[in-house]
């Protein structure tokens, strides 16, 4: 792994690299848990753990191409396990990965509050993109998220803070 430290004007951004196996295992684990948890706890169906993994790796890698590719792969895998056409989650998470990487290049995302706000925002970005694409490409009506989505977004943000702290143990800092 190579160290990638880039200086842009007054911001010194730290790039983290991960073992590719860890990325695959973490992505698969997120997809598996996403498929299993609702079997035992139906309320967890609202969680989108692959989204959290996508955001985390995109933010940490600070590479837009890596971010969008991770998002595309996780999204396509998620599509493959769903009943809908393949590509909806792929495109959504590709954009989210790209956006998260772009954000990670500009700000320091190691702080918990930044991660909290970032995940909170990316949850709405992801939901909005998915609804728009679903409306545009599949012709389905847009269901504007209600107040419940606010709680779900907050849960995602809190969970992301904990999960990111856990995954930070496996990253290699440069």
């Amino acid at each position: 792994m190579k160290v990638a430290v880039r200086m842009r004007s007054d911001l010194r951004v730290e790039v983290h690299r991960f073992n590719p196996l860890l990325v695959i295992v973490a992505s698969l684990f997120a997809i598996l848990i996403q498929g299993y948890l609702p079997m035992w706890f139906p309320t967890t169906a609202a969680l989108d753990l692959p989204l959290l993994v996508t955001v985390y790796f995109a933010l940490s890698r600070r590479s837009q191409i890596a971010g969008l590719l991770i998002g595309a792969m996780i999204g396509l895998a998620q599509d493959s396990l769903s009943h809908g056409p393949i590509g909806m989650f792929g495109m959504t998470k590709t954009i989210v990965g790209y956006a998260a990487s772009s954000l990670g290049v500009r700000i320091d995302t190691d702080h918990a509050s930044v991660r909290l706000l970032a995940v909170f925002g990316f949850y709405y970005v992801h939901t909005g993109l998915f609804l728009i694409l679903q409306h545009v490409l599949l012709g389905k009506a847009i269901q504007i998220p209600g107040p419940r989505s606010l709680a779900v977004a907050m849960v995602h943000a809190i969970l992301a803070v904990v999960l990111f702290q856990f995954l930070d143990r496996f990253r290699k800092d440069y």
């Binding site: 598996l32 969008l68 895998a77 493959s80 396990l81 393949i86 590709t94 954009i95 490409l137």
Partner: protein, 492 residues
């Protein structure tokens, strides 16, 4: 070109990736076909891991669930054991309740069937001494109990109330050596006195050696003691041996005296019917036929059960040559007997005309236990008459009134226990030689002669207390032995 691509590389890659996915999506939508290859790859990658994770999760869950099951099963087992113990106790309690209900039902049936007025009581204790056979009841003077009231069960008599307190009463059981009961052998109609013998047996005394008593004979109350109503079962003869003067007869009480829980206290005794004699007694058969029947000496109480005398009191079979064959009186006793029958017949007709209200014989069976004993001056006199065993009037019936006084002096006159034994039937023949009573406490009136019961309710057919009692034949047996026996009781 390279510079432009390198400058917008990220955006180009993004657009390219999005475009590819868009094409893929458009292909699926346009052709309405799935992309099985991607799904197969994805599922092929995901499902083995899913199986692995699922197995692991199920294993962990199964282990945890089994462990939880075991713990739950153990707790459930402990709960079930506690419940079983509780149900066992409840079953035992219910069985006890059922047994008590059966006993009480039998007691209630007996109470309903007996004409006496009774009070149910529960046995709450017994004597603390081996030599004293007493019981304690949970009813006392508050419930109307008074001393010398009979205590009975459906099986037989238990004893008499000895001492009464406010909420409890002490009962002297018939097996106590100091207890005594006026008894009657049901088959042979022989009267005697039942004494407690200690343990679980009683002794029937004052039955002459020449009388025939066999084991298995039923012993019932004679009512002569004025404590126990007539006709109540006492016990069964278990052995009868020839003694010095009298037979030594052992009687086993019918009441389970060692397992009593509920009893009835007779607050107002009413004599019951005595079953008819099943077969002629040996005394009748062995009686010399040439002798005339004894003359009536003492009046007796009315017969029991409210039925005519002939129906209620056992009547000895007519001995050929005595009543049935005699056409005209030959002796004074015969004349007196005829006069008695004529008088009784007239009285019966008159009382039938009155509706039977005052019919002493027909309405009999009511023993006025509360009636004051009449003067018994005639009794010693009668006993002094050499061959005459006069009744002592132990049942409160004047022993010698009207036409009875004279026959008592007649030579072969036998005396019956006057009073509540009912009008005794003429004996088949005079006894050979009646043994004299033991000279112990003679002269004392029997304990039962004391006023022990409250004034008895006038029942139909009950003779008025001031009216002359009906005539009766006297038994040659109880005239001398009852005062002796109950005289000792009185002193207690």
């Amino acid at each position: 070109m390279d510079t432009l691509f390198s400058r917008y590389r990220n955006a180009v890659v993004l657009v390219a990736v999005l475009f590819l996915q868009l094409l893929l999506l458009a292909f699926q939508i346009k052709r309405d076909k799935d992309v099985p290859l991607i799904r197969i790859w994805a599922i092929g990658v995901i499902t083995p891991v899913e199986k692995l994770v699922s197995g692991a999760v199920r294993g962990v869950y199964g282990v945890w669930y089994d462990y939880a099951d075991l713990r739950q099963a153990r707790q459930e087992s402990q709960g079930l054991l506690e419940e079983v113990s509780r149900l066992k106790l409840e079953r035992h309690r219910l069985l006890e309740d059922a047994a008590e209900a059966r006993r009480l039902r039998a007691l209630v049936q007996f109470r309903d069937s007996t004409p006496s007025v009774t009070v149910a009581a529960r046995v709450i204790g017994s004597s603390a001494s081996e030599t004293s056979r007493v019981l304690f009841l949970d009813k006392g003077s508050e419930s109307g109990l008074r001393p010398n009231m009979a205590v009975i069960t459906a099986e037989g008599i238990v004893g008499k109330v000895h001492r009464v307190f406010r909420g409890t009463a002490q009962v002297l059981v018939i097996t106590d050596p100091d207890s005594g009961v006026g008894a009657l052998l049901e088959r042979s109609r022989l009267h005697g006195a039942l004494r407690g013998f200690g343990g679980f047996f009683c002794q029937l005394r004052y039955i002459a050696n020449d009388e025939k008593v066999e084991p298995g004979d039923q012993v019932i109350t004679s009512g002569e003691d004025r404590i126990y109503p007539k006709g109540l079962p006492i016990g069964v003869v278990t052995s009868a041996k020839t003694g010095a003067v009298f037979k030594e007869i052992m009687v086993q009480p019918l009441a389970r005296l060692n397992r009593l829980e509920e009893v009835l206290v007779v607050t107002r005794g009413v004599d019951q019917e005595i079953p008819a004699k099943p077969e002629p007694g040996p005394a009748v058969a062995e009686a010399p036929l040439a002798e005339p029947p004894p003359a009536p000496v003492s009046p007796g109480a009315p017969a029991s059960g409210g039925k005519p005398v002939a129906d209620t009191v056992a009547k000895p079979k007519a001995v050929p040559g005595l009543e049935g064959s005699r056409t005209k009186p030959e002796t004074d006793a015969d004349r007196l007997q005829d006069a008695y029958r004529a008088t009784q017949s007239q009285k019966s007709e008159a009382q039938r005309a009155l509706g039977g209200l005052l019919l002493p014989a027909a309405g009999g069976g009511v023993t006025d236990m509360a009636r004051q004993p009449p003067p018994t001056a005639a009794a010693p006199a009668a006993r002094k008459a050499p061959p005459t065993n006069a009744a002592p009037g132990s049942a409160g019936v004047p022993p010698a009134q009207g036409p009875l006084a004279a026959p008592r002096k007649a030579p072969p006159t036998s005396a019956a226990p006057a009073g509540n034994t009912g009008p005794a039937q003429p004996q088949s023949a005079p006894r050979k030689t009646q043994p004299k009573p033991p000279p112990s406490t003679t002269g004392q009136s029997p304990e039962g002669a004391k006023p022990q019961q409250p004034a008895q309710q006038k029942l139909p057919g009950q003779p008025p207390s001031d009216s002359p009692p009906p005539l009766t034949w006297l038994s040659p047996h109880s005239a001398f032995r009852i005062p002796h026996f109950f005289g000792r009781e009185e002193g207690r």
